[in-house]
Amino acid sequence: MSTDTTDVPITGKLQVGVTSGKRRTLSQTEHRGKWWRLVIILIITGVVLAPIIAVFVLSLQPSLGSTATGWTLENFSLVFSQTNVGTWLKNSLGVTLVTVVVAVAVAAPAGYVLSRGRSRAVSGYSLILFIVQSLPVVTAVIPLFILFAQIGLVDNLAGVTIIYVGSTMSVAVWMMAAYFDSIPITLEEAAWMDGTSVFGSFTRIVLRNSLPGILSTAIFSFLLAWNDYLVAVVFLRSDDNYTLQIGLQTFFQQNQTNWGLVMAVAVVMMAPPIILFSVLNKYFSVGGIGGSLAGR
């Protein structure tokens, strides 16, 4: 990472003309400071991650009424064999993956228009995106609920998926547009001169070079759909249609919550985003969202 070496040129320049003995002392202080900073950041990270670590630890502890002692995977086998967690996991995965695919497929060409188009209609389109983005989901959910009730999409996973695609749209288009901005248009112009169609140049030149942008958009859509609570709690009514987010709430009992089981479900729920994130974290850019917002 480039930031790792930021201090080097400073010390290097400042020490011009300083004796070599002095230089050694400086680097020794710096060396000691480095380990102090490591201790500090370790403590900060530990405190910050404590709630997440607690989820893992509790999920591996014997739950209420269990005979097991020490570390155990019993909670996981219990929730998968005796509750609906398997179905909810399947629902969550299905809804999320369809959302990601559709969102990228629709947002990529639209982002291309936003990036390359220079007409009034395009700036109007950009304005629509900006307005849509600042509207609260609660306002959209009410009329959609009434509309979807009439066409049988309430308590229906397809209905929830459609709403997720809609709510990813404005940011997804922005993210794709911001990435396309970084691809020089001269390439496409050269291809057009050779007789390639706009569609051809889009798929063969622009998309082929946009994997990082596509991945960022996909990660954004994934997290939005996977982490949603509000839409799911309003639209999903029956146990078999629950996503994990809603399913987890059924574990909370009035008097005594079985934390072992709750945390096992929580681990199942946070595993996909954490795995995705640890594999693809370099494509995980929120800066892209902000940058594209201010650029227009």
């Binding site: 950041i41 989820v55 060409p109 849509v132 509207l135 959209a140 009329p143 609570y229 945390m263």
Partner: protein
């Protein structure tokens, strides 16, 4: 992207054309005709997203706007009542209580997470072994579903038998009821929001700081500026653009935030943490009054758009300078 891959793609594209047959010579098609067909293709490109935006974003809002002028519920449309829903809503003390908490929640959410995020971004810029790893680990609160983190925070603080109240008791603070006392519950929700949001700010600020030229710091160090002076006079102005952008986005995130509050406290105790979104939600889905519920959401959105526009203007000003 490296120029190499771009050049490679261009070559490939050229080859693709070559296979299909001899390419048309430049200018074989009149330029104007080509421009028109471009516009048509671009319209086709934008069409699916436009349909989705209109159907799933604009239509609901317009429908909701009309519904806010009626006295209906989730099933029937009701009668036209003009602006009485708006007038009635702003006359209730609940509305102003919620508005006040929304303001507190948003201000602490935005500036709390910004301060923590910027602090950590600056700290991670210094030489720390494996700082890339910490950068990734510290983003986890933003990545983990709010349902999970709210569950975990509930376990940490909710009851007197939870770990944190026990710890506070042991430290001599007495029996602290984080979610049962109205003021403490408000504080807890705000801290929770900062915990969820600071990674976003850290990322925004990290990428802003990465673009700062090191030579600037070098020069100020030579001129004898203190580190505080360097921070306020150099770092802050350079990252001001990103700062304003992150404030706008975080303001929108905080005002519109439903799950963070709802899952931790449900708006309680005695409605102390009921923000405007939670109030709108419960008005519609628990009391089945769509008109007043939408009116609340609309008033909130209007104020939000005004604030966002003001901040947006500030960015443009920074850009011009």
């Amino acid at each position: 992207m490296s120029t190499e891959s771009v050049a490679g793609a261009l070559k490939k594209a050229r080859r693709g054309v070559g296979v299909a047959g001899p390419g048309r010579s430049p200018g074989a098609r009149p330029a104007k005709k080509r421009k028109n067909s471009h516009a048509r293709v671009l319209l086709l490109f934008a069409l699916p997203s436009l349909i989705l935006l209109v159907l799933l974003n604009l239509y609901p809002v317009i429908y909701a706007g009309l519904q806010s002028l009626r006295n209906g519920d989730l099933i029937s449309a009701g009668d036209f009542v003009g602006f009485s829903n708006y007038i009635n809503v702003v006359q209730t003390p609940e509305f102003w209580h919620s508005a006040w908490f929304t303001l507190v929640f948003t201000v602490t959410g935005v500036f709390g997470s910004w301060a923590v995020g910027l602090g950590l971004a600056l700290f991670l810029r210094t030489r720390i072994p494996a700082n890339g790893l910490f950068k990734v680990l510290l983003l986890l609160p933003w990545v983990v579903p709010v349902v999970v983190s709210a569950t975990s925070w509930n376990w940490l603080v909710a009851t007197p038998q939870s770990p944190l109240p026990i710890l506070f008791d042991a430290l001599g603070f007495g029996n602290v009821l984080f979610l049962a006392d109205p003021v403490l519950a408000q504080v807890t929700v705000c801290v929770f929001k900062v915990w969820v949001s600071f990674p976003f700010m850290m990322m925004m600020m990290s990428s802003a700081l990465a673009s700062v030229d090191i030579n600037v710091y070098e020069a100020s160090k030579v001129d004898g500026a203190s580190s505080w002076q360097t921070f306020t006079q150099i770092t802050l102005p350079i990252i001001s653009r990103s700062t304003y952008i992150s404030w706008i986005l975080m303001t929108i995130f905080c005002v519109n935030d439903f799950p963070t509050i709802f899952l931790l406290t449900g708006g309680g105790p005695v409605n102390a943490t009921r923000s405007l979104v939670v109030l709108a939600y419960s008005t519609v889905f628990q009391n089945f009054q769509t008109g007043p519920g939408v009116a609340i959401a609309f008033i909130m959105t209007l104020v939000l758009v005004v604030i966002a526009t003001m901040l947006y203007r500030q960015i443009r000003k920074v850009n011009i300078e």
